[in-house]
Assembly symmetry: C2
Homo-oligomer: 214 residues x 2
Amino acid sequence: MAIPRAAKTLRRTRIQEEKEEQILEAALDVFSARGFRGSTIDQIAEVAGMSKPNLLYYFRTKEAMHRALIDRVLYTWLEPLRAFDAEGNPEEEIRSYIRRKLEMARDFPRESRLFANEVLQGAPHIEDELKGPLKELVDEKAEVIRAWTKSGKIAECDPYHLIFSIWSTTQHYADFDVQVRAVLGQEHAGEGRFEDAARFLEQLFIGGLRPEGS
Amino acid sequence: MAIPRAAKTLRRTRIQEEKEEQILEAALDVFSARGFRGSTIDQIAEVAGMSKPNLLYYFRTKEAMHRALIDRVLYTWLEPLRAFDAEGNPEEEIRSYIRRKLEMARDFPRESRLFANEVLQGAPHIEDELKGPLKELVDEKAEVIRAWTKSGKIAECDPYHLIFSIWSTTQHYADFDVQVRAVLGQEHAGEGRFEDAARFLEQLFIGGLRPEGS
DNA sequence: TGTAATGTTTACCAATCGGTCAAATATCCG
DNA sequence: CGGATATTTGACCGATTGGTAAACATTACA
């Protein structure tokens, strides 16, 4: 009789490693496209190319799958903000933060939509992460920004709303991708839209944050 | 035998009027909070305070309910953009567009989340609206903005990405409300956050779009 | 190689899903 | 009033949901 899900052996098998990877990859596909409630285990199983009970051998419940996925993706997702450097040049830090976030929207749209779905529906599974680690990180970086404004390196502004606006403008290109494509039309909806967006956003934020009288 | 759903009488009954209103109000509650697939007719019926078959007497299917809701909300939702006036003062037009969108995020967050859910999940029910009426309206307003840049009233910039950035920054306060509250913490998450956001966004966009050398 | 542990599948379950039906009830109007 | 029409409901349907049980197959390793 197998005691499932790595409870028995401390070391995880090669098969465990591979299958869990496979499942989480499929789960990312499905959860990001349909949200937690809108997704079914069967869909994930089909994408993963295995049977439903086989999925449930590795993850006891649908919730457990979702949780494992969130945990895995969250750290990576906050990396750009973590890289925000107090010692760096403010203009260049903001510029590269925008660029990095935009690259993530382009290269990891599923991860963006996973969180967007979750937050949009009230964040029932990640409330703690938002109020804990996320808030702490943002508080820390907000202090950095505030120091920049105090010393006149960038215009006086609310650092929290600055961060929100960078998040929203960049993630927009992942979360609202279909709308962006629909509005831009076939002629402008190619991959070049990310470069156009980068150009515009850098202009917007650098110009909008330029200290008075410079 | 009743031929249901207003197919029989051309004039709609008072009861029809009221009940359909009641249902759509409840449907907005549920669809906006859980997305189309994540919502159930039973949930809507409970919120509406009537039995499931009664809902289905007024709307044949779950899809029909969703469609009626979208149709009803879409026109209102685009009103602020429609108000964008080519003859007005660019700075003031942009400022008031931001303010109006922010007011809608504050006063009609469910409507915002309804569309966000829909678009996020690939806009399976509103693709035509995006590619048709929405695109046309945006194209029209993009021309207005382009005229402003050509005449030097605002800085040279991509009008489409400008519109996207106003959409995303303002709707963020409705769609990602729980995240905004979590990060701001109890002390700053009061209704004042909308005024702070308005102040920041006006500064950002007005500053960021100020024509070179002025 | 043998065997215990690990991994996979078929068959199934109760609950819930969207939706139907016929009977019961309320409303309208002459 | 009374009958026609409009509205509401409980009981029910087949399909799908998340999840289980147990038989079966494969792997690792002494």
